[in-house]
């Protein structure tokens, strides 16, 4: 959490966003049937589906406005001006490119890549290995320069994967080989791990950390996944190359 003075300045911003959200909720609630007929039922205001959202929206707007007022009382008009000046200053750019923000971007990027791109399309085990390999190496190596390089590699690979799905290459390749998306991800994992290994090759301590990170990245999904799949009977979000192989081993299909 920030310190008190910065918090009050941030309150101006968050209070405004909350106020706007409240107003939007009210506007949407007013569009809900208040006295009209809905589903054959003639409405009265007190059973309207809009009454509760209206109350919630009004409270959010009111509280947001109160928060702005409290913040203004503390930081004054000059403080408010300083906040807006900061928003268009080079300090904002410096803040956005600071080391903690890089770590934030890395965390969010890896999560977004995993949830929105890998999970719905790629075998869960492979997706998890990629997620963990990227996530653990970026942070466990504990080096700002390496983090940037590894994040760059991950983003490039993820962008290529996104384009691959966007242009429908997956469906075309599926006619030629089985599980094309999973083979592609496997390739991405190999490239990423090789890149991480190359980056750490001159430093024994980093190389050891990289080795641990990659072992954990491969081992963890093969412990967590089977618990859910074979013990709790939860089908994986996407079952592909590795899941088919594991099913074959589990049910003795060889």
């Amino acid at each position: 959490m920030m310190d008190k003075e910065k918090l009050r300045q941030a309150d101006l911003f968050s209070g405004s966003v909350i106020c706007l959200l409240g107003l939007w909720i009210i506007s949407q609630a007013l569009k809900m049937p208040m006295k009209d007929s809905w589903g054959g039922v003639q409405n009265v205001w007190y059973v309207s589906p809009g009454i509760f959202p209206l109350f919630v929206g009004a409270m959010i707007t009111l509280l947001g406005a109160l928060l702005i007022r409290m913040a203004l009382k503390t930081v004054g008009i000059a403080g408010a001006r300083a906040v807006f000046a900061w928003l268009i200053s080079s300090e904002l750019a410096r803040y956005l490119t600071s080391a903690p923000m890089h770590r934030f971007y890395a965390t969010v990027a890896v999560f977004i890549g995993f949830v929105f791109i890998d999970i719905p399309r790629i075998d869960f085990f492979l997706g998890s290995v990629l997620f963990l390999a990227a996530f653990i190496t970026m942070f466990y190596l504990d080096d700002a320069v390496l983090l940037k390089k590894l994040l760059g590699c991950y983003l490039a690979g993820t962008a290529l994967t996104a384009l691959y799905f966007l242009f429908g290459l997956s469906a075309r390749l599926a006619n030629i080989i089985e599980f094309p998306d999973d083979w592609l991800t496997l390739g991405f994992i190999v490239v990423y791990c090789a890149y991480a290994w190359l980056l750490t090759r001159n430093d024994a301590a980093l190389r050891r950390k990289c080795k641990i990170a990659l072992i954990v990245a491969v081992a963890a999904p093969f412990i967590i996944g089977p618990i859910f799949k074979y013990f709790l009977l939860v089908p994986m979000p996407t079952e592909g190359l590795v899941t088919t192989l594991m099913d074959a081993i589990r049910y003795g299909e060889f």
Binding site: M32, F111, I119
Partner: protein, 516 residues
Amino acid sequence: MMAFDRIGSFFDIVLQIGADPINLAVLFGSVLLGIIFGAMPGLTSTLGVALLTALTYGMDTSLAMICLLAIYVGGTYGGSYASILINIPGTAAAAATALDGYPLACRGEGGRAIGLTTTSSAIGTTISMLFVVSISPIISHFALQFTSFEFFLLAFFGILISGTLTSPDLVIKGWIAGFLGLFLACVGRDQLQFFPRFTFGVPELDSGIEVVPVLIGAFGIPQIIQVLKERFQIGETQKLQRILPEIGTVIRNFPAIVRSALIGVGIGAVPGIGEDIAGWVSYGAAKNTSKHPETFGKGELQAVLSTETANNACVGGAMIPLLNLGIPGSPPAAMLLGALMLHGVTPGPMITFEHPTFIIEVAAILLLASCAMWVTGMALAKQVVKVLRIPTQIFMPIIGVLCIIGSYSLGLNIFNLYLMLPVGIICYFLTEMGYPIAPLVIGVILGPMADENLRRALMVSQGSFMPVFTRPVSLILFIVIVLTILSQFAFYRRFKDKLVAKILRRDSCEAVFDEK
């Protein structure tokens, strides 16, 4: 006679659960998992309960409750390990323990401190269990008189009080978080007319926002981001000597234990307030009543004992409103509510009719969990503290995978993940700006109850709000809500101070007059 019947069925259930080896294995396994979760800085018992909710989805309700309550009890206790040995609270609940636990470890009494926290935590949980058994029927009976207005006001009060007491910055932010939670609860088709609200034409949103993935996102994702962004490092662990139960110290401090347990139960019973506040309040009470307050902060055994008794007593306290009113007493209890709903158990006044032995079963599990915690704590503490050597950068990404697969497995729905992640990221920003997350979660849970009851109440009264003032419980709740809100404003505080001063002046004048 009824009391004897309850005691009889309580011990009957204890024996039934204890006689089944699977139950015992799950109980000890979950307690151990809870202790590990609590001991790891950055992981909380709330997250532990959240992740285990997914694992227990396929189990029967009784076994799932054993699993979830055991991890809750173990997680609350486990936080003390990191507090004592590395001066970093494993959970917020154990923050007060670090003040005196770490100095004790520094002077070579770490084993003694952990022995004491183990015993006092077990006693705290057991005392709170007694309250669950004894108070629940009274509250349940009382709650049966409630109508829709009371339930709406109760939900509203729950959100307000949780916002008031959990806000790390301005109270108003706690309230905003609560109302944001209520807004999230509005998403989906409304329960009376099936009108789609805030669904944007997305069919997956028609059934509303699934509570458990939102809870996992709200508690798990911000924690992962925070720990990794701030480069959280675990410090050097102090050496751990032989762990003894410290029964003698416990007997000598029995009044302090009872006081701390009562504080824990009381605070636990207030909606949305967790073990951390119970720990701090109990620490403050122990310091204020001590003959040697100067020793607090320098390795005082009574301080460690008070905080640990209170935070574990909070577990039972949180069960009282959860089971009888359907209002979670703490963030892990909110997760438990979500889990109970998944298992088809709807906590509230009707629980004694729909599941007559459920509350006694919960109490029995709490008793067994506290015994399992004591045994595990005494036997395995030295092994468990080894987890403190695992770097956070390795286990946090694994927790990320667990959050994701856990959220997905609850409905086998990838859309849950599309909700969980944005909610988690928004909650991270809210946390950074001083908004508490507990009221938001309570809002999501109590939203449907508040919405449905407000409209039902108005339907019965034909749009009149008069029943709020004519029904005694409603009126009391309304006055409490108004006072809770007003107490945050300076003009009200000034008015109250003036009034108190006036009354005191009049009293002193009367006293002088009487003397004359």
